[in-house]
């Protein structure tokens, strides 16, 4: 489930990558990323609307593999 204003979409190969998952968890200032028990990436849905649009997650992952969507811009 997306937030009311923000959704974050992560490519499956990035979500499975333990190193990248850990990195995303570290960079996001509002804890939108977390890791599952097996080290894969989990999105903390309740925090999505806290996103400050800092793009740190986008910069931390291979180009295009993390998208931050502003739901108020699309219909």
């Amino acid at each position: 489930m997306a937030g009311m204003f923000i959704d974050v979409v992560v490519a499956p190969e990035v979500a499975k990558d333990k190193d990248l998952a850990a990195k995303l968890t570290e960079v996001c200032p509002v804890a939108i990323f977390a890791v599952n028990g097996n080290g894969t990436l989990k999105i903390a849905e309740e925090n999505l609307d806290e996103c400050v649009l800092c793009d740190l997650c986008i910069e931390a992952a291979p180009s295009g593999s993390v998208q931050v969507k502003k739901l108020y811009e699309t219909e």
Binding site: M4, F5, V30, D49, E50, V52, L53, K70, Y72, E73
Partner: protein, 399 residues
């Protein structure tokens, strides 16, 4: 944060200031017992966070334990300046020869504590200062030099008190100054400081105020005195609505979304920050609007925290619409507040376009914020519309 008299006296006693025999009574039976234990005549004083007890009839004298019990019942229901009594202090009544005043407070202009002393105690010190200025001395105290009793001596001497009185008063006043400095007090006052017929001095009435900012630092003392962290001790006790507001603010350390105070109106206010809130509250009233609350958001609170504040305000009985307004913001983000108030409306089952009378927060991230507001059809304005005008638009929408 004001202490009750019995708490102030407990603090004084720990530091060796001279006090009469006393006990706190929470029932007529306890008052009777206390009077019997103390023996002789006693005075019963309402424990209430306000001055003016004498005038309100909340101080009475008793010669017998039964009389003390009867007075307890008479005193407890008396409301003094909007404050209820917590208990009654029963204290020995002593024959007095002379009354003095001593107080320490802050002089905001000189930015130093000031020791105020007078040999005309027992009455309002400001009145004495006006009618008998030669009987009042004001002596400033350094905050970086160790305290030295010569300050007390000079203060006493300045009103012409000398002899054994000067020597007996010096240590008492010095101790009070040390208490003031040690506990980060904003006021430490003994009035009257009485000289008994036998020449001894005794603290008859006194009270202290501790700076709210210093409460954590002096937690051990507050715990000892039984002062709970949630006791705000403001001019009036907090309402349910205000307590919930404090909980919202405490739920997350990021930014401020609280300082809620309830009023009777129908227009909920989500306003900020410190100065902006004062300005906007005045503006709403100037336009004839009826605020349902005062509040402050600022310092960039999380969406969740500002949302919870919005929901709290919307849940207040009688709130028809909310106005979301701030001064041009620098670190609080427009888009974050926009998300929060819209989400707050929706989660309260209200249509944001209908419920938000006006959104006037220009500044940091405003373009992003305005996109969100547009999408939800919320009326908003940028910095070209003044705070005053925005408040007027909100008020105009109220029936």
């Amino acid at each position: 944060m004001r202490f009750y008299e019995y708490e102030s006296k407990e603090l004084f006693a720990r530091h060796g200031l001279p006090l009469g025999q006393r006990a706190v009574a929470e029932s007529a039976d306890q008052a009777r017992q206390a009077a019997a234990d103390i023996g002789g005549s006693v005075v019963l004083k309402s424990q209430v966070l306000s001055g003016g007890r004498m005038k309100a009839g909340a101080v009475k004298f008793a010669d017998t334990p039964d009389e003390a019990a009867a007075h307890f019942d008479a005193i407890m229901p008396i409301v003094v300046n909007g404050q209820n009594a917590r208990s009654v202090l029963v204290e020995s009544k002593s024959p007095i020869a002379k009354e003095y005043y001593v107080g320490i407070t802050w002089d905001g202009r000189r930015k130093l504590p000031v020791l105020i002393f007078s040999d005309m105690g027992g009455i309002d010190i400001e009145e004495v200062a006006e009618t008998h200025p030669e009987h009042v001395s004001k002596t400033h105290i350094s905050t970086i030099l160790p305290f030295s009793p010569r300050v007390a001596k000079e203060a006493i001497g300045a009103v012409g008190v000398t002899g054994s009185e000067l020597n007996r008063l010096t240590p008492i006043i010095s101790t009070l100054v040390e208490i003031f400095l040690h506990y980060d007090l904003t006021l430490a006052e003994i009035n009257p400081l009485a000289q008994l017929e036998n020449g001894k001095f005794i603290v008859l009435d006194g009270h202290v105020d501790m700076e709210a900012e210093a409460r954590d630092k002096h937690k051990a003392l507050l715990d000892d005195l039984g002062i709970q962290p949630e006791e705000t001790r403001q001019a009036r006790p907090p309402t349910d609505f205000e307590i919930k507001g404090a909980q919202v603010d405490a739920s997350d350390h990021r930014g401020v979304a609280g300082n809620v105070v309830g009023f009777d109106g129908n227009l909920g206010l989500v306003i900020g920050a410190g100065g902006g809130s004062l300005t906007l509250f005045d503006a709403v009233r100037k336009h004839g609007g009826k605020p349902a609350n005062y509040c402050e958001i600022g310092g960039n609170p999380s969406v969740k925290k500002a949302k919870e504040l919005t929901k709290l305000i919307l849940s207040k009985p009688g709130v028809e619409k909310i106005a979301v307004m701030m001064n041009v913001v620098s670190n609080t983000r427009v888009d974050i507040v926009a998300r929060a108030v819209i989400k707050g409306c929706i989660e309260s089952g209200r249509d944001p376009a209908e419920t938000i009378a006006i959104f006037r927060i220009p500044g940091s991230w405003e373009d992003e914020g305005f996109k969100i507001l547009k999408k939800y059809n919320v009326e908003f304005c940028d910095r070209s519309v003044s705070m005053y005008e925005a408040a007027g638009r909100a008020v105009a929408k109220m029936s």
